[in-house]
């Protein structure tokens, strides 16, 4: 049927075939490849920001280390654990969707949604602490930590984590819509599991971005 790695999930016999595809495997390849390309463009977007941080670190190692020590490391670590766990729930939701387990799919996605919301709440608290510490650009009492190259690093932290939070918010909407479509039977499982799979891919990617943002901004204390 296919030359890909043998796996139960790789036998997309549950897929409802659409135009213009000749076979379920071909349709599946196209679905995943299109999403991987889109996520590749997102990787370039965040990658360019991370590349700038690495450049600052090479040019001003001490200033970046000082600025990084002002990051809320434990909130960042807690958020990493939260978003990794939310990814597990999304993966289990996708697994359930392929089995045709409608309620389990919706349930797992709603669990992931709750964790994603918790991530945003913690991030908000963290931004509040950053404001208190005078780390924010333009607003608040500016801290001396912001002077010089350290300020550039801190500004990049806000741009990158803010952009990530925006993506996470979009991800929350995607999870909510997908859960609703599944639970209301607007999408049939497992025939239309691709909807759940693509929503999952987006969420996992937002997770991957954070996996890199965490060490780049919070752990650059050395």
């Amino acid at each position: 049927m296919t030359d890909a790695a043998p796996s139960a999930a790789n036998r997309p016999d549950y897929v409802s075939l659409r135009e213009p595809y000749a076979a379920p495997t071909q349709q599946r390849d196209a679905d995943f490849m299109g999403m991987y390309i889109f996520l590749g463009t997102e990787a370039m977007l965040f990658g360019a920001l991370f590349c700038l941080v690495f450049a600052y670190r090479s040019l001003h190692p001490e200033a970046v280390a000082v600025a990084a020590r002002h990051m809320q490391l434990w909130i960042g670590a807690a958020n990493t654990a939260i978003i990794l766990t939310s990814s597990l729930f999304v993966a289990l939701g996708v697994h359930s969707a392929r089995q045709g387990a409608r309620r389990a799919t919706g349930g797992f996605f709603l669990l992931a949604l709750a964790l994603g919301a918790a991530f945003l709440v913690l991030k908000g608290i963290e931004y509040g602490l950053d404001y208190r510490d005078g780390l924010m650009p333009v607003i608040g009492q500016p801290s001396p930590v912001r002077n010089g190259p350290a300020g550039l690093f801190i500004d990049l932290y806000f741009v990158a984590t803010g952009l990530h939070a925006l993506h996470l918010t979009i991800g929350l909407i995607v999870l909510a819509v997908t859960a609703t479509l599944v639970l209301t039977r607007a999408k049939r499982l497992p025939e239309q599991a691709v909807v759940v799979e693509m929503a999952g891919l987006y969420w996992h990617f937002v997770d991957v971005v954070w996996v890199f943002a965490f060490p780049i901004f919070y752990l650059a204390r050395g």
């Binding site: 450049a55 891919l201 752990l219």
Partner: protein, 93 residues
């Protein structure tokens, strides 16, 4: 719980272990190597997520290549940027 679901939970356990390691390494005795160690751990976590959670494992080689193509472009971007910042003034008289 099915074997596939067990695999997913196992991957999550691995991710949490790596998270613990990366935080521990930050306070460890690795000096200038710490950022490199943390980036290697981040790559391992991303690889686990892509391979298992993002279904790269189930794909043919073409789709796998597409999934990781951005890594090649990002390495070019990083290498050429660092070639600039690390050699500034190195060739002046």
């Amino acid at each position: 719980m099915s074997r596939q679901a067990m695999t997913l939970v196992g991957v999550w356990v691995g991710l949490m272990v790596l998270l613990t390691l990366t935080v521990a390494a930050t306070f460890g005795p690795f000096g200038g190597w710490t950022p490199a160690i943390n980036m290697v751990i981040a790559f391992c976590k991303a690889a686990l997520i892509y391979w298992f959670f993002m279904h790269v494992r189930e794909q043919g080689w073409l789709a796998r290549l597409v999934a990781v193509a951005a890594i090649a472009w990002l390495l070019l971007l990083l290498a050429l940027t660092q070639a600039d910042v690390l050699t500034r003034g190195a060739f002046s008289h």
